[in-house]
């Protein structure tokens, strides 16, 4: 496992809800990241964020880690959930609340 991959693995496994995004929760730097934050805030859950713009290694590595080409990426309990489109679909269907809320 490369350094960046093991770092990502550590982040994913040590946080129940973690969003890899562009920018911060207060200042998202991309519309999709902003949408992802809005969904998490609406659910009222606590979450961690990782700003990939501050870390080029993670920015590249996270795409390989999940075999997913875009950011944001949401991980819940160590599992990749999806990007902002999947988050929105799962939010609207109530699945996201169930997934995050079940053991929170």
């Amino acid at each position: 496992m490369s350094d960046s991959k093991s770092r990502i693995d550590e982040i994913v496994k040590s946080n129940d809800v973690v969003l890899f995004m562009k920018g911060t929760a207060l200042f998202p730097q991309c519309g999709f990241s902003s949408r992802a934050i809005a969904i998490l805030d609406h659910l009222g859950v606590s979450y961690e964020t990782v700003d990939v713009l501050q870390d080029p290694e993670v920015r590249t590595g996270i795409k390989e880690y999940s075999d997913w080409p875009t950011i944001p990426q949401l991980y819940v309990k160590g599992e990749f959930v999806g990007g902002s489109d999947i988050m929105m679909e799962m939010f609207e269907s109530g699945e996201l609340k169930q997934l995050i809320g079940a053991e929170a």
């Binding site: 795409k63 080409p69 950011i71 999947i86």
Partner: protein, 82 residues
């Protein structure tokens, strides 16, 4: 970098021949699109896998040449009353 909607549709259909593809140019700049892709081949796949299949069809352009693609995937619903 702009990419025509017709090109996106062509690439998706080249990999997923039965796909019903609907594309909207969100900002009118040929750079921010929303696509809805409906295919029977998605049956039994997780949402992640369905999206990955579409990304694979676009051959690494998503996140690069194609900056923003809002994506929705679905399995065709059986028609009622036939």
């Amino acid at each position: 970098m702009p990419m025509a909607a017709s090109e996106i549709e062509r690439l998706i259909k080249a990999s997923i021949p039965d796909a019903d593809v609907t594309i909207r140019d969100l900002a009118g700049d040929e750079d921010h699109y929303a696509a809805r892709v409906v295919s029977a081949s998605f049956e039994g796949m997780t949402r992640i896998k369905q999206h990955q299949t579409v990304y694979a069809a676009l051959g690494g352009r998503v996140g690069g040449e194609l900056h923003a693609l809002q994506l929705e995937t679905a399995v065709p619903q059986p028609e009622n009353g036939q």
